[in-house]
Symmetry: C3
Subunit: 347 residues, 3 copies
């Protein structure tokens, strides 16, 4: 099919070469992100601008007057949330970020209500959505779906921005963004921090994206604490080596607790199990229990992308170092900042 | 789990002792409802204020200018409608009440699209939702779910209000509220009225809540007309005795029609059947048929919480005494009033 | 049931006699559409007014200031999208048209979340919805459902407008409207044009409605290109004869390509198959392939109501004559115009 003749060629390119294609057309402001597909598009500079913008938005949001101003910023814009993979948190934080900015929203959350059952291709669906809205946020179980969507729209006469809200096992750039924002906001900076990542490191896209982005900061150190079968994959480890980020692998979670500034817990992604293999592992060794609080640094923070099962005891939910609720709310503010930036509507 | 250590203790308290805990924190205006969980929180005084406020809102809503003013009252607020039990009427009237007040809305209507399938606890879900919005309206099949949600949020750093939109078999306070509002608006007052309640009185939460609230008014009398197996339960009858409300039980529906100022019909709640027991009863004796209109008082009213099956003949839908359509619309106005009150945004 | 005693009588009337009943009550402006149920209500005059209004809306929408003005036009109105039959395009274009005009929206997209499971009649559901909103857009698998809804509401004390968003196999008036708008906008006029309709003409409601409306224009000619089993039905052919519209039937699609100003492709509606009969036909002969571009007139256009399967090769998606993406977007603008007209809120 001719329209896709360039797709395979594009897809095969090294990631970094693609970023230019995801930038805003030069007619506006060059070098700014237009489609956000990969976490690696988020440079330290751009991320810093987003942090400042998110802080400004939450500050404005404290008064009714400020909220009303925020809602005027993008009151003429319409977004589509195309979420065909179940999600609550990412969905709600994008939706409410839209509401904060006055963006009107359309939702597709279930393919059963959509034309897919009439045999439409996902590419046609995305191009159709682009007819009605100014921005599409995509969450899809298929790897590379967001990238393909951006590619399809760039080929069309209406190349509106795509934001990847989670695509396949690999990429979830806005989650990595809110994680960085949470570390920066809670600890004042990211440079020099020691981050322990715990749980299912092999299949957790959050952890993968965050690890890569941490390489943009100085003197960061990472501890990967997981059962052997679920340790971080070599591709990320290679990347960190190349970027000069020190890291260590361990299956002894308790040993890293006293050393870490950030404890980042994740759940077992057993929806990706092929044979119930997760059940064979005793994951209690990787749970953060109340007794661990004693060995945790006074100013360290505990994070979790949620939903959680038993990875963090609810007994510590109200400890001031437990930042996972703030982390969720941070997602809303930083996504609002991202959309303002992409739409070119900073206040 | 430490965070819940207080929950069982709290849950076991007598209802009236809990109400203080559901009030707005004293830093604002003490004694005002913050979480609405139980119908019994609705005092005669508070309910009277809501009636007046609802009248004012519907009056403003008659002009475009008034509607635009209403939408500015809470334009900075965001609500979550967390409806995991099917509902059309309650959902739509809350949603449109939000729209009238400019409140932006997020919906969870189906747990299949939510994180529950990833094993998240409902408490975590509610606390997460609280990160994104300013108010949560909860409808849940589990008894006590709304109460637990309010308790969880009060323990957290972000105790936003919970409104119970129907929880288990027992409580549906905003339905009772709109029923009272409908009686008051149609008949000018509630004091001194004779109310016949008909149908499945055992399992209808609407009827249970309304019966209790009627005790706040003077000289009210209640006729409970139902098949023996579905008569009102003893707990409510005891309550009425204690409050000095005269009532009588009958299985002869036709005998109460000429005496009543209000005929309140309800459907058989056969979704709570354990063994298809509802099918064994001839419920036609409890249907309001066209021929009954002749014996009905000229200024009496007919109500139904809807959906209906055959409880009221469609032949009387346009009789001026049939108030069930207005009743539905009243639900929207009184819920708007309730939200304004809870958010502290009366015009 | 007395309230429906007039329904059967009404339903049996000739279509044209019903239109008065779907007009706006004379207290406002007589002769204007109030309920849009049938494509045939769309006179050439009314349609022309809508074309002009849609052009004006899209012009205003080019600036933020214009968008903000548009959103004030109907900011006090609330619409219900009652879509119990799967649909993406029609749903999204109505929804976003509402957003453009500031109309607040409620959605019912799945009867599983609605009261139908409690045994409520669809008539009661529609009358209940009318309690909360100012306009209902209905899509339903049942033939005549929109008409019945309009009838029910006209009998009630709150006769808000109904717009038929697709009802059964027969009627989809706003699709026909956007098709006409697309032809008019792309070719400058409809008079004198030659339109080829291709695919499943027997079961495609789009095609049926459009064929009838084309009779309102001068010197139009229609080519029906389909497999014999799926040719246009006699009722439409009779209608065209009576209105003096020349047409021809063929199973040789390629022969009509060079003659047509408009190629209107449609997919096989196999969801209406009774026995998998569609599978027995080789439909490739009715696909528009890249090689066909050569024989197509320079200023002809290609349309498709979408979703598509293989009816049009993606290779021609970016040919300037491929208007199907614009067609989708046109649906949003013309539906916005229709709603403004029905609500009496033209700028």
């Amino acid at each position: 099919m001719q329209i896709f003749k360039g797709w395979k060629e594009f897809k095969a390119k090294p990631q970094a070469e693609k970023f230019q294609y995801f930038s805003r057309p030069s007619s506006l402001q060059n070098k700014t992100i237009h489609h956000l597909i990969y976490a690696q598009q988020l440079t330290r500079e751009f991320t810093g601008e987003l942090f400042a913008l998110a802080d400004k938005i939450r500050d404005m949001a404290k008064t009714k007057e400020g909220m009303d101003s925020l809602q005027r910023l993008a009151s003429d814009k319409r977004a589509m949330l195309f979420f065909v993979q179940p999600s609550t948190r990412t969905f709600l934080s994008f939706l409410n970020a839209c509401h904060i900015l006055g963006i009107k929203t359309s939702e597709i959350r279930d393919t059963a209500t959509s034309s897919e059952i009439k045999g439409e291709s996902p590419e046609d669906a995305v191009r159709t959505f682009s007819s009605y809205v100014d921005l599409i946020i995509v969450r899809h179980a298929e790897e590379g779906f967001a990238e393909k969507s951006a590619w399809v729209l760039n080929q069309s006469g209406r190349p509106i921005p795509i934001i990847n809200g989670g695509s396949g096992k690999d990429e979830h750039p806005t989650q990595a963004l809110l994680d960085l924002y949470t570390i920066n906001r809670s600890l004042g900076k990211i440079d020099g921090k020691k981050i322990a990542m715990v749980g299912d490191l092999k299949r957790g896209r959050t952890i993968r994206s965050l690890s890569q982005l941490l390489a943009n900061y100085s003197d960061v150190e990472i501890f990967f604490a997981a059962a052997e079968q679920y340790q971080m994959k070599d591709d990320i480890l290679e990347y960190l080596k190349k970027r000069g980020v020190p890291f260590s692998l361990t299956s002894d979670f308790e040993s890293v607790i006293p050393k870490a500034d950030v404890i980042y817990c994740t759940r077992i992604q057993d929806e990706y199990d092929e044979n119930g293999e997760s059940e064979k592992i005793d994951y209690r060794k990787f749970h953060f229990e109340e007794r661990h609080l004693a060995s945790l640094k006074k100013d360290a923070i505990i994070m979790h992308p949620f939903p959680r099962r038993l990875e963090i005891a609810t007994a510590i939910d109200n400890d001031p170092r437990a930042k996972y609720w703030e982390q969720a709310r941070n997602g809303m503010w930083i996504r609002a900042a991202l959309m303002l930036k992409i739409l070119g509507r900073e206040p």
